[in-house]
């Protein structure tokens, strides 16, 4: 446990690191300029709160910068839940990079049309891709739950597309239910893996990290990790098929994850 002057020193000495880590978290989660600034201010407030209570908890069991990085990642999660509710970027978007994360956030979280999102990204200098290219990028990302509700004026309502036919809605609902069941089966199959394999699978396929990043974080050789992932995927394939998920659906699910 650190005393207050030491905690304040820790904060002051590491302010540049804190700012860089917040900016990196913002990029990873597709935050735009104002949002990124808002998160940084909010995080700094939390670190100062209650006489630097968070920093006073530091016992020196890891490097100070590592501690701060983990604390900021936790704070980011809290900030995101407060601001966006349950929405979060997909693993596929994280794998594609910051542009895909931002595009996904604009279209699927904030409800912008693709052309509007493209215009914003190009104006901000974040891409030179055309709408067609951005559409292709968006097409590689999975469907999300509907974005959070936003207040819409008359203008927005007038511009909204016509409602889809009733048959389409029913079909979409059935497809959604099937997908939900398959995803639940996938989650159960993940839970049957050994704890270390579960963590590796989730870091790789649900959090979008590379095998090299995971190897570095867990302190294990990269080559062995590839083999471990292959074995885990093979086992999950068997589990899913035994659980009644069709072979085609299994391939779809795991290939989707493995993409």
């Amino acid at each position: 446990m650190t005393d207050r002057p030491a905690a304040e020193r820790l904060l002051l000495e590491h302010l540049p690191w804190i700012e860089r880590a917040c900016a990196a978290l913002a990029r990873r989660h597709g935050l735009a300029g104002d949002e990124a600034d808002d998160f940084l201010s909010w995080a700094r407030m939390r670190l100062l709160e209650d006489d630097c209570a968070i920093l006073r908890k530091f016992r020196g069991e890891c490097a100070a910068t590592t501690y701060l990085t983990v604390v900021l990642a936790t704070l980011f999660r809290n900030w995101r839940v407060r601001e966006w509710g349950k929405w979060r970027p997909s693993a596929a978007a994280k794998r594609e990079g910051p542009l895909a994360v931002r595009l996904e956030a604009l279209v699927k979280r904030d409800g912008f049309r693709l052309e509007e999102a493209g215009e914003r990204l190009r104006t901000a200098g974040r891409t030179t891709l055309s709408d067609r290219e951005l559409a292709a990028l968006l097409g590689r990302l999975p469907e999300h739950a509907p974005p959070r509700p936003v207040a819409a004026g008359d203008e927005a309502l007038a511009a909204a597309p016509a409602p889809v036919a009733a048959d389409d809605a029913v079909l979409a609902e059935e497809a959604g239910a099937r997908r939900g069941e398959a995803e639940a089966a996938l989650r159960r199959a993940v839970e049957r893996l050994a704890p270390r394999d579960q963590v590796v699978f989730r870091l790789r396929f649900w959090e979008g990290l590379t095998v090299a990043q995971i190897a570095r974080g867990l302190g294990v050789p990269q080559k062995g990790l590839y083999r471990r992932i292959e074995r885990a995927l093979a086992r999950m394939r068997r589990d899913l098929e035994r659980g009644g998920v069709s072979r085609e659906r299994v391939r779809e699910l795991l290939d989707e994850e493995a993409a």
Partner: protein
């Protein structure tokens, strides 16, 4: 799946490679049951990697002579040295070359604990390098005799050098973390542990930081103990790879003589040093198994 929140410092210790095998397995089991924990761990891992890469690139740009500004002659014909100047330059180049050759052969300086790792013909670390010879090498707060701590610091300095020489970033980070943890229990260790935190973050790079770390660590923990640990670990690695040149080197012979005659060492360690001397004095190829086993015995006894 959502268990109770995981202590951020434990996640940090996992990222820094500071947990024992059992602690790591326990934490991974908790992570497997916590969506929030995995998410935070993933974010921290991605962010830390990104910032480390940035730092490494920045350090590389600063260290890389290829990016030094190069100014061309302003105008006119390209400049060429006259014959006398060319001769002087040739003599200077030969002198510099000889000095560099001498330095390379000598390796690091005589008071630098990195000098033994520099003798290894084939650096790099075998699998399970950190499992032996101590069972609790990573326990930062462990009560250790000062000499034993110094021996462990020296051994891990050699490991760090061996890992850095083959760009094994995972092992380099772990070795740096262990040196930092061992030094952390000493009074006034703040600057030294900060150096090793930095070395760990940069996965063992650059060499200038490691050299600063080695000298600081030796001063802080005790130069003799650090030198003994550094040599014994290098001897263990060299024996595992049948590295005859290492055992023929003068620095090795001197270290061996010192260990065998050091009355402050536990009798077991001195006896092990004697057995290494005898194995090297025997005719024919050395018994590599004996050399490796006895070097490990010195580490276990003097660093235990």
């Amino acid at each position: 799946m959502n268990g109770s929140p995981i202590d951020p410092e434990r996640l940090g210790a996992l990222l820094d490679g500071r947990l024992t095998g059992r602690e790591r397995a326990e934490l991974l089991a908790r992570l497997a049951a916590s969506d929030e924990g995995v998410e935070v761990f993933a974010d921290a891992l991605a962010v830390q990697g990104e910032l480390e890469d940035e730092d490494r690139r920045a350090a590389g740009a600063a260290d890389d002579p290829r990016v030094l500004p190069f100014r061309r002659p302003a105008r006119g014909a390209p400049w060429r040295p006259g014959p006398r100047l060319a001769l002087a330059a040739s003599v200077a180049a030969v002198a510099v070359g000889m000095a560099a050759w001498g330095l390379a052969r000598r390796g690091a300086g005589d008071d630098d604990p990195g000098r033994y790792a520099a003798l290894l013909a084939r650096p790099g670390l075998p699998a399970g390098w950190d499992a032996a010879p101590w069972t609790a090498a990573r326990a930062a707060g462990e009560t250790l005799d000062p000499r034993a701590r110094a021996v462990r610091v020296g051994a891990r300095i050699t490991d760090l050098e061996a890992a850095a020489a083959t760009r094994d970033s995972v092992a380099a980070r772990r070795a740096a973390a262990e040196v930092g943890a061992l030094l952390g229990a000493l009074p006034a260790a703040g600057p030294a542990t900060a150096v090793y935190d930095e070395i760990g973050r940069r996965a063992g790079e650059p060499e200038a930081a490691r050299e600063r770390g080695r000298r600081t660590a030796a001063r802080l923990a005790g130069e003799e103990g650090v030198a003994l640990g550094a040599w014994a670990e290098a001897a263990r690695l060299a024996a595992g790879r049948r590295d005859e040149a290492f055992f023929r080197a003068r620095a090795t012979r001197k270290a061996l003589d010192r260990a065998a005659g050091d009355a402050a060492l536990p009798p077991d360690a001195r006896a092990a040093a004697e057995r290494i001397r005898a194995a090297l004095a025997a005719s024919g190829a050395p018994d590599w198994g004996v050399l490796e086993r006895e070097a490990a015995r010195i580490l276990a006894s003097a660093g235990g």
